[in-house]
Amino acid sequence: MAKVFLDANYFIGLVNRTPKTNVEALNKHSAYISCLSCHILFYVNKIKVPDEKTNSFINDFIVVNLTESILKKALGGPTPDLEDNIQLHSAAASDCNVFLTSDAKLLQMKFFGKSELISSLSPRPING
């Protein structure tokens, strides 16, 4: 069982069935998201609050709080994109082993702290 952080694009890609997202690969792992990703999900899909089915979907994930500490770190980098930085620092704050994203620029980083940046979870065992 590993601690997997889902970047916003991957998280939303799951529910909007974007190619290359894989629900099965998450089986038995702990899946983390930034609370910022929920905001994006709602606007992309024009969801009105309250929505029981969406709430139930979100409830399967561990939501990382967007704190002042994470924001301050994100304001300093490591990329020029604040939202990406918030996602990265949220993963670090949660001690996630893996950061799942489809963002090509982020994937070039390969690692952020102890999180390995990858685009898909393979069947290989993940340490953690």
Binding site: M1, N9, I12, G13, L14, V15, N16, R17, T18, P19, V23, E24, A25, L26, N27, K28, H29, S30, A31, I40, Y43, V44, N45, K46, K53, T54, S56, F57, D60, F61, I62, S102
Partner: protein, 90 residues
């Protein structure tokens, strides 16, 4: 916060109580020279949710949101922000 506190002096003599409170999920304010200087919070080790892929897939199927590419997701989000906050937001 629920009003619990421990002084820096008491850290030496009441660490067992602090551990019990943290294990029970309470936050504890840290007081030094009559001022609250920080907060000791429990590490969130008990809340370990794991994904059941079958259950999650059922929820995704029930939601039945449109199939979108990453580019379309990005476009929809930008449009939504422009609608909400006006032109000029990119």
């Amino acid at each position: 916060m629920n009003g619990l506190y421990i002084t820096t002096t008491e850290l030496r003599t009441k660490s067992a109580e602090l551990v019990s409170l943290l294990a029970a999920g309470s936050d504890v304010n840290l007081v030094h020279r009559s001022q609250i200087i920080g907060r000791v919070i429990p590490k969130d080790t008990n809340r370990i949710k794991t994904i059941s892929a079958k259950k999650l897939q059922r929820k995704i199927n029930k939601l039945d949101f449109p199939r979108l590419t990453a580019v379309e997701i990005d476009r929809r989000y930008r449009l939504a922000m422009m609608e909400k906050h006006g032109q000029g937001i990119s």
